[in-house]
Amino acid sequence: MSEEYLLRTENLELAYGAFKAVNGVDLKVRAGTIHTIIGPNGAGKTSLFHCLTGERQATGGAIHFAGRNILGKPAHGRVGLGMARSFQLTSLFQNLSVRENLRLAAQGRDGSKALNFWRSVDSRREHWDMAEQVLERLKLSARADTLAGELSHGQQRVLEVGMSICSRPRLLMLDEPTSGMGIDDIPLMTQLISDLGRDHTVLLIEHNMSIVMSISERITVMSHGQILVEGTPEFVRADERVRRAYLGEAA
């Protein structure tokens, strides 16, 4: 059973004083799927995401990743296990080249081996190779030597997502990858995510409903820190409670 689910939380809880932002969540992400979390503002999506990435320490429950409880592991320690994330607000190394951003992300998987201060970065050829591969996949090869901060906003969003695949993760956690993107760039991002979904398990937080409905295999709807409904896009679309809690609000 644990093999079937790459990521599984049990009664997960994140409390700020008396307020429980995440209140007993049992999330199950099947390996090899694109799984999206949606919900109205304040539903606890981002808090849940922070618990999963290690940015915040959950105050109760368990997080099983690939069969291990990783509840207390710090964010950097989760990369070596095969988890990677992107940020809702673009978070790049602005004054380093696009290629160096990707190479650093690949090197991150080395963990404390990267403390080696006497070898050249060229001694780890595989990180350059990975950067090169990802550049091609992101269609950013032509801009490899540009500073990340000089890319267009859309390209920065693409790089933001691309950095997360450099560590060869099993689970990609993407926090609103289309946030702030222009309408013209969105199809590109949609295509990139479904492309990444072919060889990674993807956990997605997204507001854009057309993307959510078109690429997700499973959708979890959250409300008030709890899971309201979970199922296929068709199932979720048809559910009366979801309409009331979320879609109804938009309509």
Binding site: S91, E100, L104, G108
Partner: protein
């Protein structure tokens, strides 16, 4: 595949550029004693350039503003001096002692200070600096307190009990310091080009992201502190040997400030900038103090000008100037071509 990669990567350029920089440093090292009135002044420049270079690893490459550099400088000076006086240690063992003392203290200061970030980190390094000063002041039996530690020897370079070169002549001592500086400069370049060094820059740019892609940033910060402290300790020891004396001001907060000022004026994020910064501040001090007893005021004015008008310090200013001249040359060449 390999060929294709080498085509797409800017390595050859980086390598020629790096070699050019090395030649430039060697030229400066050879030229300094020829241009300057005394070898002692040239020694002083290189010693502070060493300390500024170590400070640059923290400030320029990792983004850590440390007021603790004077601790490591002073500790290096005291430890080397005491080891030479009481244990009759030779030149290299004394320098190793200084590097060890600087590195060890940097480990302690670094490990505690990086538990906080931003302004609180800076405050912690300041507090440590104050503490170190009063420790040195209190232990006057060892450090000589206000009077300083006198009669520091300058050992010769010896091998198996035989004296190879005496360093009593300040020109000989300069040659020794210059070789040491070159080695440290090359080592620092190597560190910067390593996985470790590239991660330092990632931390400087965006620590949250660096942690998110798998780096335990605390370990990187502590290690860069240790490396910086060790080099600063060596600089302190050399200064003690140069002066034959360790004044209490070596471990003063003012020393930390001076090292920081040299680093910033020279240009953060450029190792050659540290040499420029140390050179210009030491020379200005030497020149201005002859002109006017209140020369520190003039130095203040110059500092303000550099910080306000030269982002990236002297090195940044020179680089920008070079670029502009280059563009003008190109523009002129292009114009000529058009005419033709």
């Amino acid at each position: 595949m390999a060929e294709q990669l080498s085509q797409t990567q800017p390595l050859p350029f980086a390598k020629t550029q790096s070699r050019g920089m090395l030649y430039l440093v060697i030229a400066v090292l050879v030229g300094l004693p020829l241009v300057l009135p005394s070898a002692t002044l040239a020694c002083e420049i290189l010693i502070f350039a060493m300390a500024a270079l170590a400070c640059n690893l923290l400030l320029g490459y990792t983004g850590l503003l440390s007021f603790g550099q004077g601790i490591f400088f002073g500790a290096g000076a005291y430890c080397a001096a005491l080891a030479m006086i009481h244990l009759q240690l030779g030149l290299f063992s004394a320098l190793l002692c200084a590097a060890g003392a600087g590195g060890l203290l940097a480990l302690v200061v670094g490990a505690l200070a990086i538990r906080r970030t931003g302004i609180y980190f800076v405050m912690l390094t300041l507090a440590f600096s104050q503490m170190a000063y009063f420790v040195a002041y209190t232990l006057s039996g060892w450090t000589g307190g206000d009077n300083g530690l006198l009669d520091v020897p300058r050992p010769e370079i010896s091998l198996a009990g035989h004296t190879l070169v005496s360093l009593a002549d300040s020109r000989h001592f300069y040659a020794f310091v210059a070789v040491l500086f070159l080695l440290i400069f090359m080592a620092a370049r190597r560190v910067i080009a390593s996985p470790f060094g590239s991660t330092l820059m990632a931390i400087r740019e965006n620590e949250t992201r660096a942690a998110a892609i798998g780096y335990d940033t605390r370990h990187f910060k502590i290690l860069v502190f240790v490396l910086s402290g060790a080099v600063t300790g060596i600089a302190g020891a050399l200064y003690a040997m140069l002066l034959h004396f360790v004044p209490l001001s070596n471990i003063d907060l003012q020393m930390s400030e001076n090292i920081l000022i040299m680093t910033i004026v020279g240009g953060t994020g450029s190792l050659f900038g540290s040499l420029l910064g140390a050179g210009s501040i030491v020379l200005l001090g030497d020149f201005l103090s002859d002109l006017w007893p209140r020369w520190l005021m003039l130095l203040g004015v110059i500092l303000i000008l550099v910080v306000v008008f030269m982002r990236g310090g002297l090195w940044g200013g020179l680089a920008a100037l070079g670029k502009r001249l280059g563009h003008r040359d190109k523009a002129v060449a292009a114009a000529k071509e058009e005419v033709l």
